[in-house]
Subunit: 161 residues, 4 copies
């Protein structure tokens, strides 16, 4: 089985530029995370866009959806900012035939302490084990698209029902 990773930006890929005192989305860390995970499966990485998820709009979601519809892969892990991850999962929710897992991080992967590696590990397992559908892997849990929200006050994902 081959996994195609699609990166869209978000906190997981945030880097810090001291000269500007800014914190921006940078090159994706996904390949570093997979290398550290000593993974042994076929994969590739498609960098679709690099945005804070608050900046991802309906056009971006349409682009992502059309990309997958026209694409030939069957197993996707999508890294995405957390704030609108449930919305993007919802926009992909009725795709048919693929297994799609969205994940990301509440703390940048470049931090010494981060949830990014754990979350990508969850997503990689879920995409292999779950039946076709759209899922979110965050907060140590695997949620069905359409049944999950980010609780911003608590900084975690939770089921909506």
């Amino acid at each position: 089985m081959k996994i195609r990773f699609i990166t869209t930006g978000g906190t997981i890929d945030k880097i810090y530029f001291d000269a500007l005192s800014q914190f921006e989305v940078g090159e994706s860390v996904i390949e570093h995370v997979l290398k550290d995970g000593l993974v042994d499966f076929e994969y590739d990485v498609v960098a679709l866009f690099q945005k804070d998820s608050l900046e991802i709009d309906d056009d971006d979601r349409k682009l992502l959806r059309e990309y997958i519809e026209k694409d030939d892969a069957t197993h996707y892990v999508i890294t995405h900012g957390t704030d609108t991850m449930p919305e993007t999962a919802g926009a992909l929710g009725d795709l048919d035939g693929q297994t799609i897992v969205l994940t990301g991080a509440l703390t940048p992967a470049r931090f010494r302490t981060t949830d990014a590696v754990f979350n990508v590990g969850m997503a990689v397992a879920t995409v292999q084990v779950a039946k076709p559908g759209v899922y979110i892997a965050m907060s140590g849990q695997v949620f069905d698209a359409g049944a999950v929200r980010k609780n911003r006050a608590e900084n975690r994902f939770e089921a909506t029902q």
Copy 2:
């Protein structure tokens, strides 16, 4: 859903004592890994033994099996040394009704670069998503017990068929 973690030792928990220039199995790192993963589910941790997996024998496997048989949990993640992880998975393979995922690490979790966090993330997702059975989550893959071996020369896990 509640996950019960059972720790048995192995490289994942290896620590280094400089004074003796030895490298021994120490306290389990599982709770640190879960904390970094920002997980939000109910769990507990049972430290059953602390052994290199080459030292785990049939009595230990019997003890582990009986522990689970008499126990009331339904979802288990077992951290275990890698060298005999497939043997232990095989010894649990016909348990009925529980979902059991074994994982560990090829490099100690206390290392700056380690596969431990990724692997535990995989195991936590698998135990939630997979149907009851016994699995191994290593090398970025989820294997069925009885269909996996450690390839020591290549330092990775692979399907036997």
Copy 3:
């Protein structure tokens, strides 16, 4: 010999809040850095303020200077934002009798890859070894106050002569 650490904020102490997508100065990491460094000397930590160094003004520098003048310690390590570290060093430059070393980081100490630990190690050695005076320890070098600038384009400290 006792070392008194004074923290003033800066990139070294930057933390990231996902909920707000902001990156702010947080609790000082100095004690974590010293603990990881397995140091064995007497010290204490005074948190004087928590500011980006671009926000540190002449009143703040006066406050810092007066704090040290009235204080009873003889060896100081000051953690400080990098953008105006040379200015603050200059404002302390004619203090007499103390050994004062300013340091900080170009990348937050909470990052997996950071110069913070190296820099604090340099500062701790310099404050013990150098004769009384004011120094900056950054970019792998120890500079005299008044003879150093931050080269923002190159993101490093360099001698002015």
Copy 4:
């Protein structure tokens, strides 16, 4: 000023081989540590040998001493195992004209939590600031060669007087 790093092995460079369940001296991490430290000075690295310091004998110390005597550099940082670091410092103690700082680590540099980076930072500052002589930078302190021992029970370096 140019710094010449001489590596001799020791815990700082220990790596872990899972296949063999061994923990051995590997390639030196010094260049990674300097890169993370964002250092900006001229340096090179000479890998003289790779030994546990308990295996370093008088012939090795003679080799190291003769290497430095015949060499043209003036500032040296030597990474070394901790158990016999004071003996090696003593064997170099009457060299004349160079500034030599020995350092190492009580925990491997490849660990997530290690004293290696802090210690190398200390050594780099000391070799720039101290007057010619032989020093040990460990446990957050800078010691004169001949006045320091490793307290194995406490796992730290301390002055002998």
